[in-house]
C-alpha cells in the first residue's frame, strides 16, 4: 500500500509541475489572453443587447400564446410549429366556443392523429384554451385529456423507476392537469385515480397527487357554515337568484326571521313615465327591523348607502343598506357588553365569555337587550339588491317599504351612492393627478 501511495504522489507532483509550466507560459503572454477575453466579452454583449432590444409585435403575440407555460415552450427542442399545432384544432376549425366544441376538438385529435404525435404540446395547449371554452369546471373534459396518454409505454415497473420519476416530462404534464383541476374546484372521481394508475403505475408522483386530492378535497366540500350554491348550480342561475342567495346568506344567519321578497318595477308603476326603468328589486327586512324603524326619531335623517360588495364564489354582488348614524348611547352599551368582567375584580387577569348568573350578579345587571342590527356604525333597517344599481331603482325600493311601513313617508331620506367602490380606483392615476395639480399651483 505504501509503495502505491508513493507512486500516486509522484504522479500527482509531475502533474502539478506540468500545470505550473503552463501557468508560467500563460503569465508571460498576458496580451494574448487579454485579447481573447475582449473578444468573448463582445460576444456576450451582443447576446445581451439582443435581449434588451424592444420586442416586436409578433414576439409579443407569441408570448401571449405561450401563457404561463412559457418555460416548457421555450426549450430549444420545441419548435415554433408546436404552438401552431394545437391552434389548428381549436381556433381555426371551431366558431362557437362551447363546452361541446372543446370535447369535439379532443375527439378530432384522437381520430386524425392515431400515432399521438406531439400529444404533450396538444395537452398544454388545451389547458390554456379551457377557460375560453367554459370547460374549466367540467370533470369529463379533464378525463378526456387524461385519456390521451398511452396506456403501457410510460408505466413504471420497478421501484427505482417509481421513486426517481420515470418519464419526467410526461409526469409533469399530468401533474399540471391535476393542478388546474384543484385550482378550479373540480373534485376527483375514484375512476380518475384508477386511470392514472393504469397509465403511470401505482405510487408514482402523479398518482400520489391524485390520491391526496381524492382524500382532502371532499373533506372541505361542505365545511362552509354559510352555504353557497355549487358550481354547476351557479352556472345556470339568473341574476335575481344570485342576489336572492346573497341576501339569504347575509341575513338569515344573523336574524332568522328576515323576510326576503322580490319585486319587478313593471308591476309597480306605469311605463309611460319619464324616468322609468324596468328592473328587479330584492329586499330583506325582519320584524325587529320594522319595529326599530317605527321607533326612530323623525328629526334624525335616514341614509341609503352603497354599493357594497359581497362574493358568491366567483360572482360579485353589489348591495345597498338603509341605516342611520350611530347613537352615542348604543355605543356605550356595546362597550359595556364587550367587557365581560372587570379586570380588577378578576385575579386571573382574564375575561369570561359565558357569564355564570350565580357567580356574580354584577355582570348580570350590566347586560342590555340590544338586537343584532344595532351596531357601532349605526342601526341597520333594511338591505336590498337592484338590477341596475341606479338612484331611480332605489327610489322604487323606498316606495315598496312605504307600503309596508306607512310612517316612512315622514322621514328625511338621503341617498349616498358612490359611482364605484373606493378601492377600485387606480392609485397611479391619482398620483399623476396629484402631481399635476402641484405643478399648476407652483
Amino acid at each position: 500500500m505504501a509503495r502505491r501511495l508513493l507512486t500516486l504522489n509522484l504522479q500527482l507532483t509531475s502533474l502539478n509541475a506540468l500545470a505550473c509550466r503552463r501557468l508560467l507560459s500563460s503569465a508571460s503572454n498576458d496580451d494574448k489572453s487579454l485579447k481573447k477575453v475582449e473578444k468573448t466579452e463582445e460576444k456576450i454583449l451582443q447576446k445581451y443587447l439582443r435581449k434588451i432590444r424592444p420586442k416586436d409585435e409578433e414576439e409579443k403575440e407569441e408570448e401571449e400564446r405561450k401563457g404561463p407555460f412559457k418555460n416548457y415552450f421555450e426549450d430549444e427542442e420545441r419548435n415554433k410549429s408546436a404552438i401552431v399545432f394545437y391552434e389548428e384544432y381549436f381556433d381555426k376549425n371551431t366558431k362557437q366556443k362551447d363546452r361541446d366544441n372543446f370535447m369535439s376538438a379532443l375527439e378530432a385529435f384522437r381520430v386524425t392523429n392515431p400515432t399521438k404525435n406531439l400529444y404533450l404540446d396538444f395537452i398544454y395547449g388545451a389547458l390554456l384554451k379551457m377557460k375560453e371554452y367554459n370547460a374549466h369546471t367540467h370533470l369529463e373534459a379533464y378525463r378526456k385529456l387524461m385519456e390521451i396518454f398511452p396506456i403501457g409505454p410510460i408505466k413504471c415497473l420497478t421501484k427505482w423507476q417509481r421513486d426517481n420519476m420515470h418519464f419526467p416530462r410526461h409526469q409533469n404534464c399530468a401533474i399540471q392537469i391535476l393542478e388546474q383541476m384543484e385550482r378550479n374546484g373540480v373534485i376527483l372521481d375514484e375512476d380518475f385515480v384508477r386511470l392514472t394508475i393504469k397509465i403511470f403505475g401505482d405510487w408514482t408522483h402523479v398518482v400520489r397527487k391524485a390520491k391526496r386530492q381524492l382524500y382532502w378535497l371532499p373533506k372541505f366540500k361542505n365545511s362552509n357554515p354559510y352555504p353557497i350554491p355549487s358550481i354547476e348550480k351557479l352556472e345556470n342561475m339568473k341574476d335575481i337568484e344570485i342576489a336572492f342567495a346573497a341576501l339569504e346568506r347575509m341575513c338569515m344567519s344573523a336574524d332568522n326571521a328576515t323576510r326576503i321578497e322580490a319585486y319587478f318595477t313593471d308591476d309597480l308603476e306605469e311605463k309611460t313615465k319619464d324616468n322609468f326603468e324596468s328592473t328587479w328589486i330584492v329586499t330583506a327586512q325582519s320584524q325587529k327591523q320594522a319595529e326599530l324603524l317605527k321607533d326612530h326619531k323623525k328629526s334624525i335623517p335616514i341614509f341609503v348607502e352603497g354599493p357594497f360588495i359581497t362574493w358568491i364564489r366567483s360572482k360579485m354582488v353589489e348591495y345597498f343598506v338603509m341605516k342611520t348614524d350611530p347613537d352615542p348611547e348604543i355605543i356605550e352599551k356595546i362597550k359595556q357588553n364587550e367587557n365581560y368582567d372587570d379586570l380588577d375584580q378578576n385575579f386571573k387577569n382574564l375575561h369570561n365569555m359565558f357569564n355564570d348568573p350565580f357567580r356574580d350578579e354584577f355582570s348580570k345587571n350590566k347586560k342590555s337587550d340590544l338586537s343584532v342590527h344595532e351596531l357601532t356604525d349605526g342601526t341597520i333597517f333594511a338591505l336590498c339588491c337592484t338590477g341596475t344599481g341606479t338612484k331611480t331603482s332605489l327610489f322604487y325600493w323606498t316606495k315598496i317599504l312605504e307600503k309596508q311601513i306607512s310612517e316612512l313617508k315622514d322621514f328625511i331620506i338621503v341617498y349616498k351612492i358612490k359611482p364605484k367602490p373606493s378601492f377600485l380606483v387606480d392609485l397611479d392615476k391619482l398620483k399623476n393627478d396629484f402631481k399635476e395639480n402641484q405643478q399648476k399651483s407652483n
Binding site: S33, W203, R212, T310, W311, L350
Partner: protein, 295 residues
Amino acid sequence: MVLILKKQVLRRLITIRSFSYDKWYKVESERQKRINKKAQDFVKDKSVFDLFKFVTKEGVSEFKKFVQEFKETDNKNYKPYLEHGDFDYLYKFNTKEDIENWLVSSDSGYKIGKTKASLNLTQQNTGLFSGYLSSDYDKPEKSKAIYTGYANISSLTEQKSFKRENRINIDQFNCFMLKIRGDGRTYMMVLNTPSKYTLTYTYMHMFPLYTRGGPYWQYVKIPFSKFFHASHGRISDKQYRFEGLDVKSIGITCMDGVEGPFSLEIDHIGVLKDNESTEHFAYETYKIPKYISNT
C-alpha cells in the same frame, strides 16, 4: 517506454478536454482576490468593531432586559386553572400602535404579481385588511412561478433580551376566537410553527376562515384540533395536532383565486377555553406504505 506512453496519453487527454489554462488562471486569480477582499472587509468593519459597539452600547441595555426577565419568570410560569369560558385577547386592532405590529405582504413585493394590499384603521377603531387581488403575472425571466395572486398579513415576533425570539405559548387554551366582518370570500388562518432547524421554516398549521358578507359582525370559533399541518403552503401527508406551543407568528391570507377587490374587517383575535369541545384531532393519521417518501 511505459513512462513515455503515459505522457503521451496524458497529453491527449488534455487536448480532448480542451482545458485552457489561460481561462483557468484568469478565473482563479480573480476568485482569490475576491476572497481576500471579503476577508479583509470582514475583519475591518464587522468582527472587532461591532463586538466593541455591542458591548458598550447595546450590551448594557440588553443585560438590563435580561435581569428584568429573570425577575419576572415566576409570574410568567404561573398558569391559573382555567374554567369553562375563560378567554384572553391575543391581538387587538383598536389603535394605530396595534396595527403597526403587523406585516403586510403580497405578490407585488417579490415583483411577480400585481396584487395590492393594505391594513388601515377605520372610523370605528377596527383594522381593515383590503386591496385588489389580481392573477396577472409580471415576472422576470426563468422564474418557476406559474400561478400568482395572494395577499397576507402576519404578526411580528416579539424579541426577548439578546435578540432572541419570544414565541407564543397558548397550551392551556382550547380554541381560537375571532371577531371579524368579511365579504363572502374564504380566507386562510395561518400559524407559523417552525422548529429550530432551518429546513422547517415553512411548517405551518392552517384552517380556512369562512366569512359571510354583509354589515353584521360574526364570531368565529376554531378549535385547535381542526388545524391541519402544511409545508410550503401544501397539505402534508404526515399529520399531527397543533399543540399550542412555539407559535412564531399568526397570519391571515387571501388566496381565493378569484380576481377582484377584497376587504376583511378585524376587531380582535382571542383565545378561549371551551370544555365542551373534547375532540383531540379531526383528521386521520394514516401511514403511507414503506419506502415511499412522505411530503
